[in-house]
Symmetry: C2
Subunit: 241 residues, 2 copies
């Protein structure tokens, strides 16, 4: 069975202005790889309804799963829930189940559930809530789109609660060899080996450390025995060439 | 004059597998903001010709500039130059000017300019070379697409040589206020102020530090006096509400 596919959609002006560095994509990428789901694309768009709707519709049609991060807080620039509803043509309003979660949270903390905070209970019809163990305001899954918070601690907790509910594939395995040579010298044997093992992918990542050139060679795939064999062949080739 | 727009396209399986964390987008975002060019979208795609061609064509049609990072080294998975040429329908081959740069570099370093390394001189017809002061192999600009290396030190050097050649806009300015309150309490005054200043953008970024909630409020725009006025009004509003 082929591995399921996924895309990440990061939403937020602060990423595009350079103010904030996105760390959620890397976290999701690692979690999906471990679960055997292939992250095939990531996008960052601004807090703009048209841009979010277009990206959600392009990605949910192309991949098995879409994960979004950002734009589900209480302020005027938090428009992700409404934009995702619009992308699906689904009605959206404050929903009783989400409202009950917020009421319990603000009662516990002694703060007021004001109109702005109540916006965090806006959930499209037909969506399933995603638990937020950090600050209560839930995310949601609508169709194949998982809508999650941008704050990394909350995003990561939501990923942890969503991933076990998804059908994974064979784990995506990898092995790495570190070669103390420039990649230009090992490109030819690497290419030949890649042709010999069409089910594996071979990556080559040059680096420079203390003035010396080196290359990390990474072999990826789902068949552990095949990866082992390729790594043995690769080690032999790069020591000869 | 409106600010020019841009998109970033990161190319590489290693970003999508989670092995490598992309830092080039954040670097470019900051450099463009300082130059008055609005980064409006970023994408990450795999080392896959079809995916690269589709993304290049979508982005170059939608924005004034496209910056790519990754996939221009000597190995079989470095297919960005050929994919960009295909996106434009431009012929591509080893080009004399790029070859001369590599020949001088490898003569200097005493290494062989083998067939794999010569692939780094593949440049589409009509493209202008981008200088690589770190490891010589050039990037290139074709139309409104700037093709650069993935290794951060080289990417950053190429950005530094390309940006001064582009027409910038009014610098994108921002000011930040740190408020020791949750964003749910200041969402209403923030929304009202955003309506009052339609040319500015107001961002709200909650954080938690040592158990205390706080919010960073960011006002962005190109008119320094307007930003000053909005920040004064904002400070007054959040201390009252």
């Amino acid at each position: 069975m082929p591995n399921p596919t996924a895309a990440m959609l990061v939403i937020g002006d602060e990423i595009l202005s350079g103010r904030t560095r996105d760390t959620n994509t890397n976290h999701l990428a690692q979690a999906l790889t471990a679960r055997g789901i292939r992250l095939q694309e990531a996008r960052v768009v601004a807090d703009d309804q048209g841009a979010i709707v277009a990206a959600v519709n392009a990605l949910r049609g192309a991949y098995d799963h879409v994960f979004t991060s950002g734009g589900i807080g209480p302020t005027h620039d938090d428009i992700t829930a409404d934009a995702v509803a619009a992308a699906f043509g689904a009605p959206i309003d404050v929903r009783a189940d989400a409202r009950a979660i917020l009421e319990a949270h603000y009662q516990r903390t002694g703060l007021e559930l004001n109109e702005a905070r109540l916006r965090m209970a806006r959930v499209p019809d037909g969506a399933t809530l995603i638990d937020n163990p950090v600050s209560s305001a839930p995310g949601f899954t609508l169709g194949n789109v998982h809508v999650m918070a941008g704050v990394p601690a909350i995003f990561e907790a939501m990923v942890a609660s969503v991933l076990p509910t998804l059908t994974g594939g064979d784990p995506l395995l990898s092995q790495m060899i570190d070669v103390k040579r420039g990649e230009g010298e090992i490109a030819q044997p690497l290419k030949e080996l890649a042709q010999q093992y069409p089910d594996l992918s071979f990556g080559s990542y040059p680096y420079q450390r203390n003035g010396a050139h080196g290359t990390q060679l990474v072999v990826r795939g789902t068949d552990a025995a095949q990866i082992d064999a390729a790594v043995v062949a690769l080690s032999r080739l790069v020591s000869q060439s």
